[in-house]
């Protein structure tokens, strides 16, 4: 059983501390949801786990199966089993979805121990089509330039397509539901549900509860001001849906020093 342990994590952007001592343990097969109001550091957590250079880890650690990932480049983290579905995926002009995913798969295979041969064209096509079927995607997507001119829903579906193709040990979904209509949320969620299982742990970051109607979390955490302040089960998400975040703010806001 693989596990991802976040230990007393502290993160700054340009000397402003955003994450102030965060603890979380994620095991394969589990779905954790992190909820919280805007600006509490949810996306910072996602980017930091993936190793974005803009975020400085000033304290604590992120351990993947006991080994710190902090010194690893983002591509090494990916090959070690971490995956981030971006809230705002960038477009890469001139690079097709299929070429991109094949390059990513072959990067994994070449760096595997022992190294594996590149995936054959035939196997790749078969695999990609089956994952596209899962996400109700048209096969022509493979030939489109990555995220160029994609609608919000198409971008998020393409993120989940990559997740499906790369089969990571841990997937972080950063507000995958934002900007999507209910149909798109359903399709994306069904995709994630089909992938989760004993070999994948998921961290679903969201502002709203509604995606959790489709992706059932085992654990729900509330993040506020750079920390996890409450943890529980599904009932916590429902409480937020009913009552909003005001009670969280009242309970955990730091007294202002005058």
């Amino acid at each position: 059983m693989q596990e991802l342990i976040i230990k007393n994590l502290q993160v700054s952007i340009e000397d402003t501390q955003i994450i102030k001592g965060l603890n979380l343990t994620l095991r394969q097969g589990e779905v954790h949801a992190i909820m919280g109001p805007n600006g509490t550091g949810k996306s910072t957590l996602a980017y930091t786990i993936m190793g974005h250079p803009k975020y400085d880890v000033t304290g604590g650690d992120i351990l993947l199966n006991g080994k710190s990932v902090l010194e690893m480049a983002p591509d090494e983290r990916s090959r070690a089993g971490l995956f981030l579905a971006f809230q705002y995926p960038v477009s890469i002009p001139g690079v097709t979805v299929a070429n991109f995913i094949r390059t990513a798969i072959n990067s994994q295979r070449r760096h595997a121990a022992p190294p594996q041969e590149d995936i054959s064209v035939l196997d790749f096509r078969k695999m990609l089509k089956s994952k596209m079927d899962l996400l109700e995607m048209d096969y022509t997507f493979g030939g489109r330039y990555l995220n160029e001119g994609f609608s919000g829903g198409e971008k998020k579906r393409t993120e989940v397509l990559q997740l499906a193709a790369l089969e990571p040990a841990f997937a972080i979904l950063d507000e995958t539901d934002s900007g999507l209509d209910i149909d798109a949320i359903r399709i994306v969620s069904e995709g994630v549900n089909a992938l989760k299982g004993p070999n994948m742990g998921a961290l679903v970051i969201t502002h709203y509860q509604r995606i959790l109607n489709y992706i059932k979390p085992d654990f729900v955490h509330i993040m506020f001001d750079g920390r996890i302040v409450e943890s529980g089960g599904e009932e916590l998400a429902l409480k937020l849906e009913d009552e909003g975040y005001d009670w969280v703010r009242e309970k955990y806001v730091q007294p202002q020093s005058v």
Partner: protein, 450 residues
């Protein structure tokens, strides 16, 4: 012919640090020919060469390209055909291995050879080197040579006209359609050698052809320069179509000067693809003259530079008749300390109403030390025209890199992927997989060395 003294250069020497000395070539180096008219063309060109000064940084077109390190005095003509070095096979097949072609010609530092299919020969197509043309088709050669590029446009053009031993004549008669491409390879080799060539493509009314011309050389000694000086003349007759694919993979010690121009007649179409990877220094002029109504041309260029390469491309889209269309896109990526210059002009002559002209130059800077100068220009002397242009110089976006890294793709490969993506719209215009693959490999090789 005038015998103006060579005073211009010397006068300037007062204010300049140093100046280029004359080449060591003499009038005796003019290729011999039994045809008096061709000989006269060369002798006249030689006279122009002697009278014209070397261009300097004070000439607008040469402002960004300093040629003072050209070792003019060191060059001799390539003459020794006794010990030719075979060109690598990859250059023999830019199209794709096994794909059919209608003809092939090899010239330069090799045993000249050329052929076309018997069908085309019977149809009156002529595809041969200048020596053959001088003997077998002197009237035709005399009628066509120098019609589009005048030998006295500048010193290098004049010199190429006078000394071009290596020439390619492609003549496609009226209404002949050539389906499979015709391929020519110009191959350079040696130390302190000079290569002069002249490409002459004449496509008569209603004819259609794809012509692929590649220049390449092997670097024998990086400390020694090679000189290439060439002329390209293209004629696309009424309602005709010419696909001209031009690739240069000259070695890193080559200094190349080229003067190229196309004349496009009524309702004719020119598709011009231009790929540059080699040379130490390039100064290229590529002009398109749309001289009759309905003429159209699309020009697609790509370059990828590294080391201390300096590539300067000067383009001109001349709309000289009503309802003519031009579309130019040049894309370049630059590494290390390399530099590119693109200077483009759309000119719309008085009366050329209904002109549709477009030009764009996009550059991707891959290192701090590289530099791309991009200078678009419009000169519009007619009403009712649509002319637009765009020029950009940018870097690889770090967010794009992070996205690719986050999928496990190592940084070098991520950068390669982005660079190849940048070139994809241009590559899509090249009808040959072999050219696409070879360019992709060249990009990979260059980027892997970093």
């Amino acid at each position: 012919m005038s015998t103006a003294p060579k005073i211009t250069v010397r006068k300037r020497s007062v204010t300049r640090q140093f100046e280029l000395s004359e080449f060591k070539f003499t009038k005796q180096d003019i290729p011999q020919t039994s045809d008096e008219r061709i000989l006269k063309y060369r002798q006249d060109a030689w006279e122009s060469y002697e009278n014209l000064p070397f261009p300097t940084l004070k000439d607008e077109a040469w402002r960004r390209t300093d040629i003072r390190n050209l070792r003019t005095e060191s060059f001799t003509l390539w003459q020794d055909k006794g010990d030719p070095v075979r060109s690598p096979d990859r250059f023999m097949d830019p199209i794709t291995v096994g794909e059919e072609r209608s003809g092939q010609l090899i010239s330069g530092a090799v045993e000249d050879a050329h052929w076309i299919t018997p069908e085309l020969e019977n149809a009156g197509v002529i595809f041969c080197d200048f020596q053959t043309a001088e003997k077998e088709y002197p009237d035709l050669l005399d009628r066509l040579i120098g019609q589009i590029v005048s030998p006295n446009e500048d010193k290098f053009t004049a010199l190429a006209a006078a000394l071009a031993h290596d020439g390619v004549l492609l003549y496609v008669p009226k209404n002949v359609t050539i389906n499979d491409p015709i391929h020519s390879l110009y191959w350079g080799y040696g130390e302190d050698q000079a290569f002069f060539n002249h490409i002459l493509v004449w496509v008569e009314e209603g004819a259609k052809v794809t012509f692929v011309h590649e220049s390449a050389s092997l670097v024998q000694n990086e400390q020694r320069q090679l000189l290439h000086d060439g002329i390209v003349e293209l004629y696309v007759g009424k309602n005709a179509r010419l696909n001209f694919v031009e690739l240069q993979s000259w070695g890193k010690n080559v200094w190349s000067f080229t003067r190229e121009r196309a004349r496009v007649m009524a309702d004719a179409n020119l598709e011009w693809i231009f790929g540059a990877m080699g040379t130490h220094l390039t100064k290229n002029f590529s002009d398109i003259d749309l001289v009759e109504p309905g003429a159209s041309a699309r020009m697609s260029g790509f370059y990828f530079t590294s080391g201390d390469q300096h590539l300067d491309h000067d383009t001109q889209q001349n709309h000289l008749a009503p309802n003519t269309t031009s579309d130019l896109l040049y894309k370049g990526a630059l590494m290390d300390e390399s530099r590119s210059v693109w200077q483009g002009m759309i000119y719309v002559a008085p009366g050329a109403i209904g002109t549709d002209g477009y030009q764009a130059n996009r550059n991707l800077i891959l290192s701090k030390g590289s530099q791309a100068d991009s200078i678009p220009g419009l000169e519009i002397l007619a009403d009712d025209v649509r002319c637009t242009h765009g020029a950009t110089v940018g870097k690889i976006d770090e967010d794009e890199i992070f996205y690719l890294l986050s999928r496990g793709i190592p940084r070098k490969e991520a950068e390669q992927l982005i660079v190849m993506g940048f070139f994809a719209p241009i590559m899509a215009r090249i009808p040959f997989e072999g050219v696409q693959n070879r360019f992709a490999n060249a990009v990979k090789e260059k980027m892997a060395d970093r």
